[in-house]
Subunit: 255 residues, 4 copies
């Protein structure tokens, strides 16, 4: 058996985009991965098959990601998908197709930053063990929405975990707050948004009990941080047939 | 059925000590718990039985904790133990005794601060997913040893998790460090100890990949923070027969 | 000349209050200070004179602080005042009286925590050198108002410094913020209020330029932190005749 | 009077280097600055004069910076210098030359990151008002030396400020530290060096009194942060004839 048999052959779809071009470079850097195709808008799908790719990374656009993944599954190619646009119907269709190809694995991950995934996971896990919990997110000042989607989702997961455990809302005696300094409330959890030149994407979950505080903070300094997760996904996808939603599905936290 | 049937009857051993007196107050404050006995050196063990205690909290001294727990088990009383001094032989003897009392639960916890337990757990769980990891602990300047026991144990758990996952040591190109600024190395993990007036006990685990950082920080502002964990232990011990080592054994992290 | 000539004789007014009792203990601990009187409501003012006090610490109530200070000045006793209630008219009257007693010093300080005073000072000094600046304050959940008075004052000082230097408002492209995650705006500066069990009083000023961030954080873990500033005030008040407003008036920052 | 009279004409020396190319871009972006020349190794000095440059930015190498600055002064061109290599003799020679050209300003700055300069300044200013002070610096893992030069210099400034104010060393009861977790000691100040993938250059000064902590943190995420200081230097250098050492000489901190 030659060494190449142990190498995972990888194709990148959307290779001219910001994320796609990072992925091309990441695959080329990663030991044990071999880039066999890099495709963009207008390229022929068959190249994907001809290249012998075992895993496809889809970093294209919502309009095309479903067709790309459908094609890959039909040809027995595993898929690691970072493109958004997968609604409930699309996911249901995907599950149906995968039922006919039980050996193929698909990972759909809204966030490939390993640290961001863990920060959300840990926040959810810790949520019910503290009397108080709030979320602070900090981003560059060109961001259009507040709070960030990740912060809102983190707060929702926290709120859900607390309700399921029967934990009361965080205590708050505030009577006077004329200008809204207490921030937004998402699923019972206060969320604060800071906008600051020099920052990229940062988030803290603060959890407090009498006499103690637990802080879980993630700093994303650069989009390149997603590549650690993309490479992790490529390495693991063949071992996880069927649909996995969220990179944490591949992370054995041993907890 | 009367309300008292749902109440857990609790005895505190070592009630005159710093921790013990906090525990007395914590039990009295906690809904659903009833303090039925508070004993110290020289008091009669039988009081424990006569009080109808269902759970005993042992916050005494290493010299007496084993006898206390043995007595409790023999009388069908669950035990929540914060006292140190349980070596391998003592634990083995305890397991033997518990085998004869399969309905009795014993929790031995080196740390009852919920946040500290979670910080250690999360640090261990995340350790293998990052290229770099270091630990910084910060304590009051009257502390005699460096690094702290908790920091050393956290570093050991991190080092073990990384070795088991086949992760390389954190990269470090340092060639010149004449005064030891890089700190201690415990099981391959750098540990730094800050001593500062005003602080109590604080610890950060820093984990880094290209483009991102995850920080898990615990601040212990006051010994009273242990009481959240003690009360959690009292509520859960009857549901976990046999020996449980570490408060996290009672914390369903859903991960 | 005996050593006692170098000792500063101190009286504490309001010695039964929370702050006053801390001040009594702090004076007794401080080298070079001697507690010669501790007075509360109903005690005779003349005791102050008879005690030979050189410096009076007023930690009483807004209703009596003016009379206390007036009496002290008339008797040539310097005053360190932590009581609130000094409006513009009261300060003007005080200045008039001091003009007749040019050797007497009075310090009126809204905040005696050395670190809090410096954090505010540094925030103001740095404000004009950064494109972005925001303030986050974190307090215990029993606090009734948001934002905290200190945070609002810090934001005002920052806003004023930026306007005077002709610096534009911090950039902010937010178009969608339905729940108010961006917090309050005080004098053009965003202020966020976190409420969390376990905390006391904490504040961060975040300042950002392209590629860098400066963070100035103050943690107040305990009211006892005010005593460092009270003792500093007592040591310095005789060297600063006339009225000084704010502890920073006694702190030579060498900048 | 035409608009160009208000514009500052700028030349960049070392325009092909990493810093120099950033400076070219920064000058082109900055309102009120006009790039009139960009020179590198082998280019003719006279271009500098012919371009009509009013201010020269020197980001070359230690071997040539002295000649560059000497030439600029002789031709009445102000100089903003980020190149290292200015020893005591070189500075003395520079002062002599400037004495003959009293209208010319020269700024030599070891660090152009505005936040880093302020962090060092504030650390020095605060040093004598706290019982404890330590420095933690965090850098990428490819750094060869520990501690960083900036951290060592910050510690020295802190140590000097404390000695001059008669403040005792930070308290430290450590008796057992077999592996050096307490880090390096520079001028009586403990310094800790963290090395972590994902980071660039970060530093914290921690200052503690009973019951409070002040933290001054600077994060440098990107070399581009130096450009804020370079542009500030260019705008101010003509207003400050003679030699100024350190960017803070141009920053009116109002303290």
């Amino acid at each position: 058996m030659t060494e190449s048999n142990n190498t995972i052959k990888v194709a990148v779809l959307g290779h001219r985009g910001r994320m796609g071009s990072e992925a091309v470079a990441a695959v080329e850097r990663a030991p044990g991965l071999e880039l066999v195709a890099a495709l963009g808008r207008g390229d022929d799908f068959l190249t994907l098959v001809d290249s012998g790719a075992q895993v496809m990374i889809d970093l294209t656009v919502p309009e095309s990601t479903r067709d790309n993944v459908r094609f890959a599954i039909d040809h027995g190619i595993h898929a690691v998908v970072g493109t958004t646009g997968w609604d409930a119907q699309a996911l249901a269709d995907l599950e149906s197709q995968l039922a006919e190809h039980p050996e193929v694995g698909v990972l759909i991950a809204p966030n490939f930053a390993v640290g961001a995934v863990l920060a959300m996971k840990f926040s959810e896990a810790a949520a019910a063990f503290f009397e108080s919990v709030e979320v602070v997110e900090l981003h560059h000042p060109d961001k259009l929405d507040a709070p960030s989607g990740t912060a809102a989702r983190t707060a929702s997961l926290i709120g859900k975990a607390r309700r399921e455990a029967g934990v009361a809302d965080s205590p708050d005696a505030t009577q006077t707050d004329p200008d809204g300094a207490r921030g937004a409330v998402v699923d019972g959890v206060h969320v604060h948004s800071v906008r600051m030149r020099g920052l990229v994407a940062h988030q803290e979950t603060l959890l407090g009990n009498t006499g103690e505080q637990l802080t879980i903070r993630h700093d994303s300094f650069d989009r390149i941080s997603f590549m650690t997760g993309v490479v992790l996904g490529v390495r693991e996808v063949a071992k996880h047939p069927g649909l996995t939603h969220g990179l944490d599905g591949y992370m054995d936290l041993g907890l």
